[in-house]
Point group: C2
Chain length 454, copies 2
């Protein structure tokens, strides 16, 4: 940021953030730290006061992009204390011992963090700025896109509230009201695509002495090709377990598990080691909702000079790369940098945000879809493991020249689209190299045989 940062006069209307979730709360801090007054409107009650019903993942994987965005508002150290490092994927076969596939170098790991804990920290940090105000139980019901006026309705009094804004930031998630308003504007490009698979959250409790019952520093995966179970550790020594599986169809599906006996038998057969650690399995299974998995793509991310969307509202992705929150937080970093560049000219910054961010959001959307296949199926393949091992060796000897895709996405801030293109090139090179190696070895073997037969 330059020394002569042009802060707006105090007479300007506030910046209105729609949604006090992870992205909205962080963006509120960024805007406040730039000297803007901010009003945050949230449809649900304050989660710090009243329990908010779930339906979304309990813990999340925080990695470099998210940590970089938190560092930008001085929160990195505080957040790190809430994290459990996960150094790799612990693969659980049906029979035999689990084994660890490291995510990267020995010093690289991703972090399991509680959604609620992180969200509360962000809200409380935002509210500590005197020019930030939160309003709860006030869903957005309309946005006047050209005038920059956001309309809310008080859930209790039914009163309507109109708030003029210098900038409306829609951070209201995959079912964003702000984006729905954009969708009805002229020539808006929009796509919602659901997987035929859904998810169900379950849990593994702590041991009798408050200890973790499985390896703490790993993301556990039970890959079963057409479905999978995963588990992430929590600070209280429990694990949040998630089953991903088809809603319906021929093979394993949520529709096919109708009774407690069926659920129990299914887990006992497919995930015997996890089954042994889940005393409340069948209760959890029938009490917890079955969630759906959506990819949202749209453009542009802005309208005129005064309205923009970010995070899931702009680009919801499936959870299989652990990048949904990280991409949303990176939106804040990117938009903050654009405000630096444009001297807080909101009109130019929001247009530049669409321009800069669209290709990257599309890229992580595609990568996340692909990674479901990788997690539930490829990780169990010896050829996949072999290629991963070669990639790690190449990366060790040529760290700048060869970087595994997972590392570019997870342990760098290289734009997603660039990471995806670079990985495609690396993949082709590796395939050609392996074929060449096989041919070479064949020729050497032939030469040897010819020499021996003389």
């Amino acid at each position: 940021m330059s020394d002569v940062q042009a802060y707006p006069s105090s007479g300007e209307p506030p910046c209105v953030v729609v949604g006090a979730g992870l992205a909205g709360s962080l963006m509120a801090i960024y805007m406040a730290q730039r000297g803007h007054s901010v009003e945050v409107f949230e449809a649900r009650p304050d989660m710090r006061v009243r329990q908010v019903d779930g339906g979304r993942s309990i813990n999340l994987a925080l990695s470099t992009r998210g940590l970089t965005a938190l560092a930008g508002v001085g929160l990195e150290e505080q957040v790190r204390e809430m994290c459990i490092p996960m150094r790799g994927r612990m693969i659980h076969p049906v029979e035999g011992e689990p084994h660890l596939q490291p995510y990267g170098r020995a010093d690289q790991f991703i972090n399991s963090i509680s959604r609620q804990g992180l969200n509360e920290l962000l809200m409380t940090t935002a509210e500590a700025h005197e020019q930030v105000r939160f309003h709860f139980e006030k869903p957005c019901v309309d946005v006047d896109l050209d005038e920059g006026v956001a309309h809310f309705e008080d859930r209790i009094s039914r009163e309507r509230i109109a708030r003029e804004a210098s900038l409306v930031i829609g951070a209201d998630g995959a079912y964003s009201a702000v984006r729905q308003r954009l969708q009805r504007s002229g020539r808006y490009n929009y796509e919602q695509a659901y997987l035929t698979h859904g998810y169900k959250e379950l849990s593994i409790p702590a041991g009798p002495a408050g200890e973790f019952l499985m390896e703490k520093n790993a993301l556990h995966i039970w890959p079963r090709h057409d479905f999978m179970l995963i588990a992430l550790p929590n600070l209280d020594a429990t694990f949040t377990v998630t089953l991903f599986m088809a809603f319906e169809g021929e093979g394993a599906s949520f529709d096919a598990l109708k009774t407690r006996a069926e659920v129990d038998a299914f887990f006992r057969r497919e995930f015997p080691d996890a089954h042994a650690l889940m005393p409340t399995l069948t209760d959890d299974f029938f009490e917890n909702p079955t969630g759906s998995l959506v990819t949202i793509r749209c453009s542009p991310y802005h309208h005129g000079d005064r309205v923009m969307i970010l995070g899931d509202a702009a680009h919801a992705v499936v959870p299989f790369y652990g990048q949904g929150m990280n991409a949303a937080f990176e939106d804040c970093t990117v938009f903050n940098a654009l405000l630096d560049r444009e001297g807080d000219d909101f009109g130019r910054a929001v247009a530049a945000f669409t321009e800069e961010r669209k290709a990257d959001a599309d890229a992580i959307g595609h990568l996340a879809l692909y990674n479901y296949y990788e997690m539930r199926s490829a990780v169990a393949s010896p050829y996949f493991v072999f290629r991963k091992r070669i990639e790690r060796v190449l990366h060790r000897f040529f760290p700048a020249w060869w970087i595994p895709l997972y590392s570019m996405v997870t342990f760098s801030t290289m734009p997603y689209a660039e990471a995806r293109a670079r990985a495609a090139r690396q993949d082709r090179m590796l395939t050609v190299g392996l074929i060449a190696a096989v041919v070479l070895m064949g020729l050497m073997m032939l030469a040897l045989l010819v020499a021996l037969s003389r």
Copy 2:
């Protein structure tokens, strides 16, 4: 249809068709001819009584799929009398004479027909069945998807009307209210994608003696790479002319044409022969709206047993293959055949409709997007014309084995997805063949030189 067609008892609720446009009116006829009672609700006034405002194309290209669907209700002969055959593309270069690129064999042509004339014929034919009733100025405001109840509002009295239906057929176009209701149901896949180009309708009048001022039996194209003008003949010897061009940007665009002088100079420079025939050009240009071009993809096309969508509501396409109406009419043929197969079990027929029709609708959506490039640019390339000529020769000698893509789409009822896949194979074969021919000719030339040099 089998002899023992199981007609429903007279006590069943009516089939409710939402939208009295081309697809809705034709579907109403099909359902009536199957013995069902039908109520058609239309948001706009009756176009036979009051002029309905436009914003949509005045004339359309009717081809084999559409004619087949009309033949299915006995209307082919009547419709043929409203048609002007167009035997090929008349390509107008900036300088020099126009030249015809035939669409297919000498006996193959597409048909220019008035949207309003055809729509009126379909409505009047439907109303001639005593069990069909039309209701105008009653937009659909909601659909109870599970109960099969459609809700309408009378535009004049503001009265709400709820109509229970044995089947709700949403034929209400690209901005379909029925589909919008489906979009809000669980896990609905939906995409709307706009071109950055728009269109403007203009016109060429008849000559002083009521004669056509250009070749009557052709679709006229002025391909200019980044934009194009087209013209289709009408029965009154006028031509409806449409300009397709970018909304904004560096090159030619609607945004760049702000004054009458600019419009006049642009047409004089780019389309000199058309310009000379358009006395009301600048009036038309500023009076007529600039339309946008959208592709809609969604799935499924049905919900439960009692709700379905078809035509533009399910799969709006850009107009460049002249297949929007033809695909919508073919939906009626396909659904009618499924009702035959399922003995008018609506639940099974609507599920089969999604299953059968989705891939074909996706295929024509892609083909229509590609064809914009072909019409405005490729048709002006000598290599393209050369390939088309080879394809026509191949088709003449091997009519079953080699069919040009345009002919499969336009002059057959082969499923669109099959046509697209087959054309991709043919394209690869043709490219390989041309390369082989070039290599062979080079070798022959070389052999000749070697022989001569001895």
